[in-house]
């Protein structure tokens, strides 16, 4: 028997002075293999054209459709309605700026984050287009790729108690990003330089270990493990600085 799903969806348009934050209810018949993305598209097509939500790839790659699904941040396109109860409450991600309804601006936050942690390979080597690229050990390349799979959806930030309380906290995504560059032998940054970026209360030492990031990440990135490794690395760098032996 097909289920009738009730969607309670947060509605608010910050651009419209008349708009008041409220919840709208929509009822929809469940279809086979229905994702939240399909359900939302159906609601927009058949019931309310003004419903705002983000999507792009529909395959869990772009990270645009992140929202709070029955309290948990997740990707609408990766969430099957069959895994949810009859009543589904959808809210926009906290922390980020609301564009309207379920759509938030993660772009501004992420570009600021990438600038802050200088999310690029720092090297003085000049690229010579005539020679072959330097090779990287395959196992290491795979390890780096594992962290590189991040789609910048913002779920880890929205689920983080610390990030919700403190606007200056970098969040798991940024710490995972820096961990990726620490691993990368092409990045010539010293441990002191990395410490400068994340060895603070805005960085790894602000993390309180609530591990919601680990539990909600739609890409199952090894955030808990990376945060642990980073805390130790930065902790040791601080100790080394005390004895003036940090590189």
């Amino acid at each position: 028997m097909t289920r009738r799903l009730t969607f309670n969806i947060f509605r608010y348009n910050p651009q419209d002075p008349e708009s008041v934050p409220h919840t709208d209810n929509f009822v929809l018949e469940e279809a086979e293999r229905m994702t939240l993305y399909i359900a939302l598209t159906k609601i927009r097509e058949e019931q309310d054209h003004s419903l705002t939500f983000d999507f792009c790839c529909r395959a869990g790659i772009c990270g645009a459709c992140a929202m709070v699904i029955n309290g948990r941040p997740g990707l609408a396109c990766k969430t099957l309605t069959k895994d949810l109860p009859d009543e589904i409450t959808l809210m926009p991600l906290p922390v980020f700026k609301l564009v309207g309804d379920l759509s938030v601006d993660t772009g501004t936050w992420f570009s600021a984050m990438n600038e802050k942690v200088e999310s690029w390979v720092h090297t003085n080597k000049k690229m010579d287009p005539t020679v072959q690229e330097e090779r990287m050990n395959n196992a290491l390349a795979e390890e780096i790729y594992e962290l590189e799979r991040c789609v910048e959806c913002g779920c880890c930030v929205a689920a983080c108690g610390t990030a919700n309380m403190r606007q200056d906290f970098l969040g798991a995504v940024a710490l995972n990003r820096i961990a990726r560059f620490i691993m990368d032998p092409r990045d010539e940054r010293t441990e002191k330089e990395y410490f400068e970026v994340v060895g603070t209360d805005e960085g790894i030492f602000g993390c309180m270990g609530l591990l919601a990031c680990e539990d909600v990440c739609p890409k199952q990135l090894p955030l808990q493990d990376q945060l642990g490794i980073l805390r130790r690395q930065m902790g040791w760098t601080a100790v080394k600085q005390l004895f003036h032996i940090a590189k």
């Binding site: 709070v68 309290g71 948990r72 809210m91 906290p94 689920a159 108690g161 610390t162 919700n164 309380m165 403190r166 606007q167 002191k192 410490f195 400068e196 060895g199 603070t200 209360d201 960085g203 030492f205 602000g206 993390c207 309180m208 270990g209 609530l210 591990l211 919601a212 680990e214 539990d215 090894p222 808990q224 493990d225 945060l227 642990g228 490794i229 805390r231 130790r232 930065m234 902790g235 760098t237 601080a238 100790v239 600085q241 005390l242």
Partner: protein
Amino acid sequence: MAIDTTIYVRPQSGISAYLDWLQMLTGAGLILFMWSHMILVASVNFGVDAMNTIAKFFEDSYMAQVGGPMIGLTFLLHFALAARKVPFRTEQQSTMWKHGKMLHHKDTWLWVVQAVTAMIILIMGAIHMWTVLTDLPITAQKSAARIQGGFWLVFYLILLPMVELHVGIGFYRIAVKWGFIKRKTRQGFKGFENILTLIFIAIGLITIVRFILIQVIQV
């Protein structure tokens, strides 16, 4: 209103790292102390003499007289360090509360428990330490008399679970934060920590009952 008014680069410092080290180390030290404390007090279950002998040893070696206040200072230092992370502003508290209710996430709630028990332990633990350390020597009869008075029975029935919860959650948190426990072992470790907490609460309750049963000779 947050306007970036930075006109110079903040000087590099490792202060956050050192404070985080200290928070972890004082926490780990206090966990070890609390476990030892519980085992030592529970010695009363093996007889009044067992506890009195141990207490006498700690007083004769001045560990109670010196170690007690040292633990007190570590306790206050740990509070001051951890308080850097605890929300004291209403706005942050309500953010955290709403966040917890939204997320249905056990580890986030455990942190709230950690913060709330911390405040209770700060007051009750201080009262307990003051009472015991200003009335040395420690003897099973004196402890029994205190508990049989009624007020202290209620006092310890509250303090015991508060401490054990805080210690248990703190133990788990240190392990995951500093990478001792990885993704693979997290759930198993959490189960172990829950059982450990329950065992310590059980030992504590048995010990309290034992104190109630000790015949106090009125002097």
